[in-house]
Symmetry: C2
Subunit: 416 residues, 2 copies
């Protein structure tokens, strides 16, 4: 296999769609042959989110793949839209942020992004630079590039329109503004989740109208939360944050639903495609136990975001806490949203008892344990931080893993 064939294979590995593929291949081959500069690969993020989880990492890791072949990652901070917010007040996903908040969020976000991306080639730009000064005549030019009917084909708009849920006309502008970003950075390729396909393709038309060669679009699959639910969200307790502590990251990975193991291995770790295929085959014919595949996944993730040593330590701690003591690995997680907890209310919140009196009775019987240690005082009180990540237990069969709620929900940064 030639170098460029290998490059094409790596760049498109795991992608949901490369559109149009022929153009993409042509650009990559030209760049590889030195007949054109390296590709400018755009990825847009809204600075409404600060914490990056594995869901976000999928596209970022793909962007890093491009960097490894010498292509330029062009990261666009959506500073403009974040400041405008949704003027109709309808959209919860488009809060209005102050310039200071935008800057602060962007800083935190970028610190985490750098855990995935290479230091170069990398350009980081803010769309305030070109959108703030856009004139009305330019907006009209931009909005003349797309029809109402076409915009209403976008799945979420189609659904809302059919259900009679209001769509503000301003919402029709956002995809075009994002498309305008592609013109500003002269993108050759744009990356995004599959939920962004419509918006990404819109960039092609707008670039063409501006006299540019239209970008190619490469979308990555969205990954489900650990529990298999469509939305990965820190506050739902089904996400792994890339800044999670090793033990936490390892423990969460071990709770992944079996049917998602391969998808996670392929899209969120550095395991080579061939090896993932091998794990897949061995899982399918029973040579490999799902628990062991998850141990591999958990180790890979901790290694990726911390170190091999941290991964080893996390695995040992996990084994002590769960496997060696017979605690099942798939116990439910309970998200706690108060700062302080009395033991009886904690047991009730965890649904391990049905009343305060049952809680007190169980404590009196010595049946209540926190990380394996019996708690004898029914009036015990805990700070939220002290409970996060621990396992509470009533009797021999009732367990819950405790997790502190995030202060606010995190949305997908690349879901603009």
């Amino acid at each position: 296999m030639s170098d460029v064939d290998e490059q094409l294979q790596v760049l498109t590995h795991g992608a949901a769609q490369v559109e149009p593929y022929e153009e993409f291949e042509h650009k990559v081959r030209q760049a590889a042959a030195g007949q054109r500069p390296p590709l400018r690969v755009k990825f847009g993020i809204d600075p409404t989110s600060t914490d990056i989880h594995l869901g976000h990492s999928v596209v970022l890791r793909k962007l890093a793949d491009f960097q490894r072949f010498g292509h330029t990652a062009v990261l666009i901070i959506g500073g403009f839209t974040a400041q405008v917010g949704d003027p109709s007040g309808r959209s919860k996903t488009r809060p209005r942020l102050s310039p200071e908040q935008v800057t602060a969020n962007a800083r935190t976000y970028l610190e985490q992004v750098r855990m995935v991306l290479l230091d170069e080639p990398l350009e980081i730009v803010d769309n305030r630079d070109w959108l703030e000064g856009l004139t009305l005549a330019e907006v009209l030019g931009l909005t003349s590039q797309m029809t109402v009917a076409r915009m209403l084909e976008r799945a979420d708009f189609a659904e809302r329109y059919a259900s009679g849920i209001p769509i503000a006309i301003s919402e029709f502008l956002y995809p075009l503004l994002q498309a305008r970003d592609s013109v500003a950075v002269r993108a050759d390729v744009e990356l995004g989740g599959t939920d962004q396909t419509f918006n990404l393709l819109a960039g092609r038309g707008v670039q063409q109208a501006a006299g540019q060669v239209p970008q190619c679009v490469l979308t990555m699959p969205l990954i489900e939360g650990l529990d298999g639910s469509a939305k990965m969200s820190k506050s739902l307790g089904n996400a792994i944050g890339i800044t999670d502590e090793p033990a936490d990251m390892y423990g969460k990975a071990m709770r992944l639903r079996d049917e998602l193991i391969i998808k996670y291995l392929r899209l969120t770790t550095a395991v080579a495609p061939d090896e993932v295929d091998d794990v897949h085959a061995r899982l399918a014919d029973g040579r490999l136990h799902p628990r062991d595949a998850k141990r591999r996944l958990a180790r890979e993730l901790v290694t990726l975001y911390h170190s091999a040593e941290a991964a080893q330590a996390a695995q040992e701690r996990f084994d002590v806490q769960f496997r060696d003591r017979g605690v099942p690995e798939d116990i439910p997680t309970v998200v706690l949203d108060r700062d302080r907890w009395f033991l009886p209310s904690l047991l009730q919140a965890a649904e391990l008892v049905t009343s305060g009196s049952e809680a007190r009775r169980m404590v009196a019987q010595g049946a209540v344990r926190l990380d394996g240690t019996v708690i004898g005082d029914a009036t015990a009180e805990y700070e939220l931080a002290d409970l996060d990540g621990r396992v509470i237990q009533v009797g021999k069969r009732r367990f819950a893993r405790l997790q502190a709620a995030a202060m606010d929900d995190q949305r997908t940064p690349h879901n603009r």
Copy 2:
């Protein structure tokens, strides 16, 4: 009847809709009682048209009614939209004009407007002054004021959407930009044709969002062309221009379809409402012949735009040309679109003969007349200007009225 009751009666006379009427009445009464300044009455025009016909005069005359009671006519020249045009190139009614064309058109247009409006109170403004500098953030604020579903209720959009005819998203912006004009001029009332109802009402929401008391909307009926067709257009030969020469104006009025006499009398002349009602009653029971009602209408129009003397002279000339010579009054008009005409082609264009040889035969027989004068030379040639307004005749029963085509079609200035 009190003065203010009379004012309300005059202002709403002939209107298709006053919305909401209670607010309108309240504003007029407050102004009459000196509890608020005179009303600011907005009328927006696109400077794509230069010639004003009776269709346009309907709203302008209503605007003059407001001036007569001391209210301020606020005339908005749509200089911005005329310069932007329709960037999608789809709309023929939104050509792109240069700043010079806008200025030139506006000048010609205003000269004619002043034939209808009083010199004061009158403000003339150009929306370039506030639209050119609109920021993207302001555009987003504006477009968040209305939903896609509501915009698609507008009759023309609904029809196009249902028929699969493309609507550019930019077209959704124009009604909101016009609404934004109402904020800029702090309109208390906006006037327009009934085809503008949706756009005018949009101004209310946008004003409210800007913290202003929303304008009331007063719409006037659209009048059909002389031939009864929906579109009054100079190039279709079914319009009376307010700058038409007396004889031309008189002659055109005499060709009006009978069923439109009352509508024209009421909406395009200074005849008092009571008198129009009287004419209506006498036409209905046969006491008045439609021809005599039209003579009245024709005289009123020439008096309005020229003088009573000119009206008298036009009537006399018409009588000589038609009534006294037995030429029917309802002969067809032929619009001529070439600069020079040979007699045989003219006769063919007028559909008075079916071939060149028939034309020459008729000339040889002395059967061809121009304004009653026999033309004996089949090789005669005419300049277009010499034919305009004349009657050509073959034999005793075949007539046509000749009219020079306008160089380009004129659209309703208030149809923005």
